[in-house]
Amino acid sequence: MRHTVFITGGTGMVGQDLLPKICFQEIVEKVIVLTHGNGALPAHQKIEAVRGDVRLPDLGLQHDVKQAVVRTVTTIIHGAAETSFASELSAAQAVNVGGTENIIRFAADCPRLQAFCHLSTVYVCGKRTGTIREADLEHNSGFVNAYEQSKYEAEQFVASQAHRLPTTVVRLSTILGRSRDGAVTKSGAIHYALRFFFHSLAPMVPGTKESLVDLIALDYAVESIALAALHQFTPGSTWHVSGGSDAFSLEQFLEETLQLFYKHRPAWRKRAIEKPAIVNLETFFLFVKSVEELGESVLKNSVAVLKSFAPQLAYPKLISDASTQLVMQRSGLARPAIRNFYPKVIRFLLENNWETTPQDQARL
């Protein structure tokens, strides 16, 4: 049987590379992409765009369009999300929870549906510490930001519908760039933080020296989603697409970054910029408060980015991908080693003066 895949979030950082990947699958006949806003889609004969909005009932699709889609869809990959770490909770919930509720209702109307793949984040674990496993969800540890909380609530809703829909959840870690060439297609908080470090505007990060910095390659994320949604779909499963034990400690991460800056920008060395200090949360937020009171806009921007996600490092954890790796290994999918692709990403960012690749470079 050949699949008709319905994708939301097709123009986002993951979506840009996921679309070509899905189109290349022989078992995929058609890819219907829900588009919202101005993001460009790659041209491909399998791709059909429908305009809508996950925040709206029936995803904002016109009745006849919706009927045409639900009749044919066999697989849904739900990636549309508000991914800004600085979002207000209500704004994050509107997209991430409301949008998930809407697409689950939509999925329930699809008579041929075989797989509903919900893209989530490993940070639904919020402020939990220790080893986080794929089977874990419920907790009351709290969250670092509204993004985490809203994705957690979305997962709870997906889990509540698992008895009547074939669902799987793919939790992605922080995506850095492509493993092959280090290309970054869209900047996220991690890239901004690295840029601030380079420009001597990142004085401290919360955490411990041993806190793990879990980063993954974009292509690994994309391959994993394709595997989870199409080739190895298992109802009720949860995947951790994470670095797992292959992660830098925070101390290693900062040192490695410094050495890469030295290597690729020898003249940068004479600036003698220090690595950010690793501090406890209380001190970090005292610094944040001070900067916010000072009103220095440049430093304020830097601190705003750092405070939106870096406090996660103060809750040390290992995002275990042990169960996921069993499936990956059976499927011949190897996780790129951080020590191999991180240097490529830093080189890319420096060579491109911290700019990302244009969206139209997504390859087909």
Binding site: E274, E282, L294, E296
Partner: protein, 311 residues
């Protein structure tokens, strides 16, 4: 050979203004309330010149320590701003009228070589202590160095620099070979030229301050095999108490180890803070012989310095 600070005297102007008075006079950049939150209350403003304040402080330290002026081998005169390094006159040639030389004459330091430290910002007096030690080590016959700093901001200039409230003042130290007290055990300093432009690099300086300070202090303490908890007292430069709360955590020192009282009472007296604080801590009977003290300082010109002292 060891060296140490055997005597300290300082002079502050008689006139001081509260934060509200400074705000009303348009002498602050930030709101008074905000600076109060950073630990400041007032600052001292001089009607005298920097060299007059310097003369009073230096005369006092010589007199109170019973040091004969003729026994001073070197006079090091530090000032953070250019106007502290000449005695202004109508004619261009007055740029060569140096207060250090005037001080030598007024005090009768007939044997003393004289020079100034003019490009180290608030670090001037700390560098003077360091250079005094280097001088004594290099000159076995030399016994005594007089270190003086003095700064008076131009009239009407704002009293707030990088969120710190600035006082005028002068401080004089006697650095002697085999000093009976305040022995300098170790010193570390670093200059980071990237931050030389304190206007263009203001944000970067604010950001670089903490990690650089942390690394410098940790390097000093580990090199001297001194645990942070073994410090009897940290002698701060009187920048905002908020920034000290952050830095103390970074270097693993408790808040009650910081001699913080003068931040609110005296403000940031340019290069003199650490040593004024040492003097006041001694006067208040807070120190015992053998106590370990950490003096940390930062100055424009992008200098960070930390000195470990045994009282």
């Amino acid at each position: 050979m060891n060296h140490g600070i055997s005597a300290i005297e300082y002079v502050l102007p008689s006139r001081s203004l509260s934060l509200c008075e400074l705000e009303d006079a348009g002498l602050l950049v930030s709101r008074a309330e905000q600076l109060q939150g950073f630990g400041f209350e007032r600052c001292f403003i001089s009607d005298e010149s920097a060299d007059d304040l310097a003369l009073r402080a230096a005369a006092a330290v010589l007199s109170n320590s019973s040091i004969s002026p003729e026994s001073v081998d070197l006079l090091l005169y530090a000032g953070a701003i250019a106007s502290s390094h000449h005695i202004a006159g109508e004619r261009f040639l007055s740029n060569f009228n140096y207060p250090a030389t005037k001080l030598q004459f007024e005090l009768g330091l007939t044997r003393a070589s004289v020079t100034g430290i003019s490009q180290a910002g608030c670090m001037g007096l700390t560098y003077a202590v360091k250079f005094a030690g280097d001088f004594l080590r290099a000159n076995p016959d030399a016994q005594c160095v007089l270190c003086v700093s003095a700064d008076v901001l131009p009239k009407g200039v704002q009293r707030e620099i990088l969120y710190n409230v600035i006082s005028d003042g002068a401080c004089a130290l006697i650095v002697t070979r085999n000093s009976p007290r305040n022995r300098v055990l170790a010193h570390r300093s670093v200059t980071k030229g990237y931050y030389w432009d304190c206007i263009a690099r203001k944000n970067e300086i604010l950001a670089a301050y903490f990690p650089t300070a942390k690394n410098l202090v940790q390097d000093l303490l580990s090199g001297a095999a001194c645990a942070p908890e073994a410090l009897r007292m940290v002698l701060p430069h009187n920048v905002s108490y908020r920034s000290w709360e952050i830095l103390l955590d970074l270097i693993g020192v408790k808040k009650d180890q910081l001699f913080a009282a003068n931040i609110s009472r005296k403000g940031h007296v340019i290069a003199a803070d650490n040593w004024i604080n040492l003097k006041d801590a001694v006067t208040a009977n807070l120190l015992n012989p053998g106590d370990k003290l950490l003096a940390f300082n930062f100055g424009f010109g992008a200098n960070w310095a930390a000195t470990l002292i045994e009282h």
